[in-house]
């Protein structure tokens, strides 16, 4: 009964999304307030019904209703409650429902917060959001209904993939989706703007906090995914350039370019059409990412053949959204002229460099991610693009980006670099290079060129970020939240660079066959396999090893890697034993019983790896500060709008 109610709620939600789009566009076109109000009411209704549908699916999971195909495929009677709820978005159908719910949530938030906007414009924004909702709900009802019954009901579920039974991965999809879907707001704003053919400073001011919030969620989501891969996949890598990772990283890069470009559009009325294009790209890449990850397309285009309806729907939907918005862009963008000029060393220039470099990296990553799909579709053989490709095409644009970042933060709008800052920046640059060489030599006993460049850029970005509040406070200027956000985010970028350089330069990863009492030394740490015992969990049992780590005779830690067998059957799962430290992680994963009392182990030394995620957290925190800045909360009054519009010819 409950699943049928959920199914029914989903159908009603689709009807309400249609009403939302119809009345919003119709009302905006005819200028009739009652229609526009009806569109807004439909937003509320759509949210309520999609939430009911989501609740019904969650209820089916909590109650272990194995007569629902999706529940039977992704749950198990012994699965703990927390994971039964997380299993709702553990596979394709449920993730689409979550996507749709989050979209309805964002739409509701936009409706609530947008009363100060021009009425027809506001309506068109809601109309475009409604169109996206329609697409997703049609997709679910047509090809991926999570409420499909299984007749006869299964006696037992197939269980949620054990890899997904983990806290970080349980919360990873919702947070990631908050980011993905959040870009739909900027997208709908861009579409409405293109539709009306005018763009003023108020537009950029209005879009910025929404984009920032979406972007910060995406940042946290990606960091969570990376952290999970590190400890749960058992191999201790933090980034694999896997297509699934790229799918979330590409919208992030587009979003990063977008928040910078938006700043220029707001402050100076420049880069208008470029900003719109980035808003369209960020959301299009989010859509692409959602479909790539959850529909099996990535692994092979021929996965479509197993489920042609899904494939065709996805292609059609992407074509409509991406193609439609780009067509509108081609038609309207030439109207949006930016006419102000700026100096080569001004803030605008640096933002331009930022955008050029980020978009270059993004395009090359997109090329590498989609290339295997094209080759496969054209029957040119099965290829995969290895991580070294991505490392190279990401690194090359990032080096100048980091170097310029440190200067760009101090450049003034329009006029350019202040002479007073120049000497300070020279000093900071010198200090960074010196500190980098000293760190390499003192901490790791080595000075390598790439490592030195990495550390120097990291320290340069961090010090240069800290210089911003120092200079401001000394000259008794205010320190608005937006500036503080910038400082945090850029400092975080520096910190992450430090971590990445450290771990990639000095990590040690080795596999060993060890019997009890055997020891090996890696990176100056002595690892000794001391004991093996049986362990039992709520829905699994397995073995746990004690790996005692010491350094120069001093005990450091006891790592407890496990090998688990879940009661639902299936493959075993390795749980890594990790000793966390600011300077380094020590990592042990348990492999297989090799016979003769020996087990295989993967032992690792990961210097500075924590800074990668700490950096990401600071970046997200920076986004939060910036989004909370005073000036976004002030109502954009009609006068401000008119004045801003008048200032730009």
């Amino acid at each position: 009964m409950i699943p049928e109610l959920g199914h029914f709620a989903l159908i009603l939600a689709l009807l309400l999304s249609t009403a939302q789009a119809f009345f919003s566009f119709g009302g905006a076109a005819r200028g009739t307030e009652p229609w526009m109000a009806a569109g807004r009411t439909a937003v509320v209704g759509q949210f309520v019904f999609i939430a009911l549908a989501f609740g019904a699916l969650a209820w089916s999971f909590v109650e272990r209703d194995f007569s629902v195909l999706y529940v039977a495929s992704n749950s198990h009677s012994e699965l703990p409650l927390f994971y039964r709820i997380a299993a709702v978005w553990g596979a394709h159908e449920g993730s689409l429902l979550l996507w749709s719910l989050i979209l309805a949530g964002w739409t509701l938030a936009v409706t609530a917060a947008s009363s100060s906007l021009d009425a027809p414009f506001r309506s068109r924004v809601l109309g475009f959001l409604g169109l996206i909702s329609i697409g997703f709900q049609l997709f679910m009802l047509g090809t991926s209904n999570p409420f499909t019954r299984l007749m006869p009901a299964a006696a037992e579920g197939l269980d949620l993939n054990p890899l997904l039974q983990d806290f970080a991965l349980a919360v990873h999809p919702p947070i990631l989706y908050l980011g993905y879907v959040g870009f739909s707001v900027a997208f709908a704003f861009a579409c409405a703007t293109l539709f009306e053919g005018r763009l003023d400073a108020a537009w950029a001011r209005w879009t910025r906090p929404w984009t920032l919030v979406a972007w910060l969620f995406l940042t946290i989501g990606i960091a969570l995914g990376s952290w999970w891969a590190y400890y749960e996949l058992g191999w201790g890598g933090w980034w694999f350039w896997d297509a699934v990772e790229n799918a979330s990283f590409m919208p992030w890069l587009a979003g990063t370019a977008l928040i910078h470009s938006l700043a220029v559009t707001e402050k100076r009325g420049l880069f208008k059409s470029w900003t719109l294009l980035l808003a369209i790209s960020a959301f299009s890449l989010s859509l692409l990412g959602t479909f790539l990850v959850r529909s099996g397309v990535l692994i092979s285009v021929h996965a479509f053949a197993t489920d042609p309806e899904r494939g065709i729907f996805i292609l059609a939907f992407l074509t409509v959204v991406v193609g439609g918005s780009l067509l509108m862009y081609a038609w309207r963008a030439p109207r949006l002229k930016s006419s102000a000029g700026f100096e080569v060393t001004s803030r605008e220039s640096f933002m331009l460099f930022n955008n050029a470099l980020v978009v270059t990296a993004l395009s090359l990553i997109l090329l590498g991610t989609l290339y295997p799909l094209f080759m496969d579709a054209l029957e040119l053989g099965k290829v995969s693009v290895g991580p070294p490709y991505f490392n190279l095409v990401f690194l090359v644009p990032m080096l100048p980006l980091l170097a310029l970042l440190g200067v760009g933060m101090h450049a003034a709008w329009k006029r350019g670099l202040l002479a007073a800052m120049r000497t300070r920046l020279y000093a900071v640059a010198g200090a960074s290079v010196a500190a980098s060489a000293i760190i390499g030599a003192a901490a790791y006993g080595e000075v390598r060129p790439m490592t030195t460049i990495g550390f120097a850029l990291a320290i340069w970005v961090m010090l240069s970020s800290l210089l911003v509040p120092l200079v401001r406070l000394r000259s008794r200027q205010r320190l608005p939240a937006a500036v503080l956000g910038m400082v945090f985010a850029h400092f975080g970028v520096g910190l992450a660079t430090l971590g990445i350089t450290g771990v990639e330069s000095f990590k040690v990863e080795k596999d060993f066959a060890l019997g009890i009492g055997d020891g090996v030394t890696i990176a100056g740490y002595d690892f000794k396999y001391a004991a093996l015992r049986d362990v039992r969990g709520p829905n699994y049992n397995g073995v746990e090893a004690d790996v005692v780590v010491s350094r120069r005779g001093e005990p450091v830690a006891v790592l407890k890697p496990q090998k688990r067998h879940y009661n639902s059957g299936g493959n075993p799962l390795s749980e890594a034993g990790i000793e966390v430290g600011a300077a380094r992680d020590l990592f042990a994963a348990l492999g297989d019983d090799l016979g003769q009392g020996r087990w295989s182990f993967r032992l690792q030394y990961k210097p500075l790896i924590r800074f990668v995620w700490l950096g990401a957290i600071l970046v997200a925190l920076g986004g939060l500060f910036a989004a909370l800045d005073h000036r976004y909360r002030r109502r954009v009054t009609a006068e401000v709008r008119d004045a801003a519009a008048a200032a730009l010819p």
């Binding site: 197939l158 890899l163 092979s300 090329l367 099965k382 290829v383 190279l392 060993f512 493959n571 492999g591």
Partner: protein, 146 residues
């Protein structure tokens, strides 16, 4: 600078940038494209000699052998027409099992043995790598190892 020259410079800048990016992509692609072959294709001589590639198929039942107490494992990968022995030293992934799909990365060693430096198993329980699934269905004449 006149607006005309400014525009000219901007266009030149974009051209140089796009050119540099294209050059970078080509350079990076050169060594990092990995081709996938099934055992039949390898035996037919399609796979490159002395270069790394990926081989995929099913792990033959009963073929997994360990050198007791060491990390060395040997198994046979098959596409049900032809088979290739694989040697690997290291930890096998959790999802690796006999009778199931896998992909290995490495190169051909001496004596027709594939020496893997990385072994990947299917991503989840109900799934085999699609490359493997398809290569099992490819209508291709069986070949006998020379």
């Amino acid at each position: 600078m006149t607006p005309r020259r400014k525009r000219l410079l901007a266009v030149l800048g974009i051209l140089v940038g796009v050119g540099a990016a294209a050059a970078l992509a080509t350079l990076a692609f050169e060594d990092n494209l990995l081709y996938f072959y099934n055992p039949s294709q390898v035996l037919a001589g399609d796979a490159p000699q002395g270069r790394t590639f990926r081989i995929g198929g099913m792990v033959t039942d009963g073929s997994l052998e360990r050198t007791e107490g060491t990390l060395e494992v040997r198994f046979v990968v098959t596409d049900y027409r032809n088979s290739i022995p694989v040697r690997y030293e290291g930890l096998l992934p959790d999802l690796f099992r006999e009778g199931q799909g896998m992909i290995a990365h490495g190169r051909m060693g001496t004596g027709g043995e594939f020496v893997a430096d990385e072994v990947l198993a299917k991503h989840d329980e109900n799934y085999m790598p699609p490359e493997v699934a398809e290569s099992l269905h490819d209508p291709q004449p069986a070949r006998v190892a020379e």
